[in-house]
């Protein structure tokens, strides 16, 4: 597995962690925890967006497309 493929796996795992952390914070209750949950969900969305962009770049750009995914 190349670095680019491992990076995509890592970003996917990080996005899942952010979602899980958001759910954990929501279950905790409290105003601060709800704010933390909102930040976590926003981070999960940002990571998903970044991962998608990176994946597109992998497919499009020659230097990244060269070699195995």
């Amino acid at each position: 597995m190349s670095l680019k493929a491992f990076h995509i796996v890592f970003i996917a795992a990080s996005a899942l962690l952010s979602l899980g952390f958001g759910a954990w914070a929501l279950a905790d209750g409290g105003a601060l925890s709800i704010a933390a949950a909102a930040v976590a969900f926003a981070l999960a969305a940002a990571l998903a967006f970044y991962g998608r962009r990176f994946l597109k770049k992998v497919a499009r750009t020659g230097y990244i497309a060269g070699g195995r995914l």
Partner: protein, 205 residues
């Protein structure tokens, strides 16, 4: 004599020797951390209470003892460092050595930020007398996070080598140097991925 298959893939394995070597090393690391995660699971299953008695007080949740906001900050620091690490490799692939220096410097800096935050967290525990000998929870917490911290230190040392003395190879053999950064990046991503599993397991669940 030139060492064969340092950059070009070997016909029998389909990858170059450096990549095969780092994946074999990472497989041994999976077994090391896997064994400790198993120890954590069995300790937890066998414990009547978790985390249990710490400093004469019975705790029901790990998050009541550990500093979740600091650990969350460290999680974001490591995610950021993975992005800068992959960008440093991509910069070399695009023949942008100046950008490589910038992103690799950021990766090293973020690694140090992680360690400083961790040291602060450890200091907080020590000041309360929360030591590994206190109970099984703190013992496995210090072993797992300490071992992970040592891996971060190792990664920083490797990255610093490629930032300064090792970077001379860029002038003589740029393809091989780019490949070396990819290999270092694989290790760094592995260390970050371990934390992605450690954080929820120890701090949240």
């Amino acid at each position: 004599m030139q060492i064969p298959f340092t950059v070009a893939p070997r016909p029998d394995t389909g990858v170059n020797n450096a990549k095969l070597g780092v994946w074999l090393f990472l497989a041994s690391e999976v077994m090391l951390f896997g064994g400790l995660f198993s120890a954590y699971i069995f300790l937890r299953i066998g414990a009547p209470e978790w985390p249990g008695m710490v400093g004469g007080h019975a705790y029901e949740r790990a998050s009541d003892i550990l500093n979740v906001p600091l650990a969350t900050l460290n999680t974001m620091v490591l995610i950021g460092s993975s992005v800068t690490m992959v960008m440093s490799w991509a910069s070399l692939a695009m023949q942008r050595f100046d950008r490589y220096r910038l992103y690799m410097g950021a990766t090293i800096a973020l690694g140090f930020v992680f360690l400083v935050v961790k040291a602060f967290e450890y200091g907080e525990k020590f000041s309360h007398g929360y030591l590994p000998a206190e109970n099984n929870f703190l013992a496995i917490y210090f072993v797992l996070t300490g071992l992970h911290g040592l891996h971060v230190i190792g990664g920083i040392l490797v990255n610093m080598y490629f930032m300064w003395p090792g970077a001379r190879m860029w002038k003589t053999d740029p393809k091989r140097f780019t490949n070396r950064i990819e290999i270092a990046g694989l290790y760094w991503h592995f260390v970050d991925l371990v934390w992605i599993f450690l954080f929820p397991t120890i701090y949240l669940l």
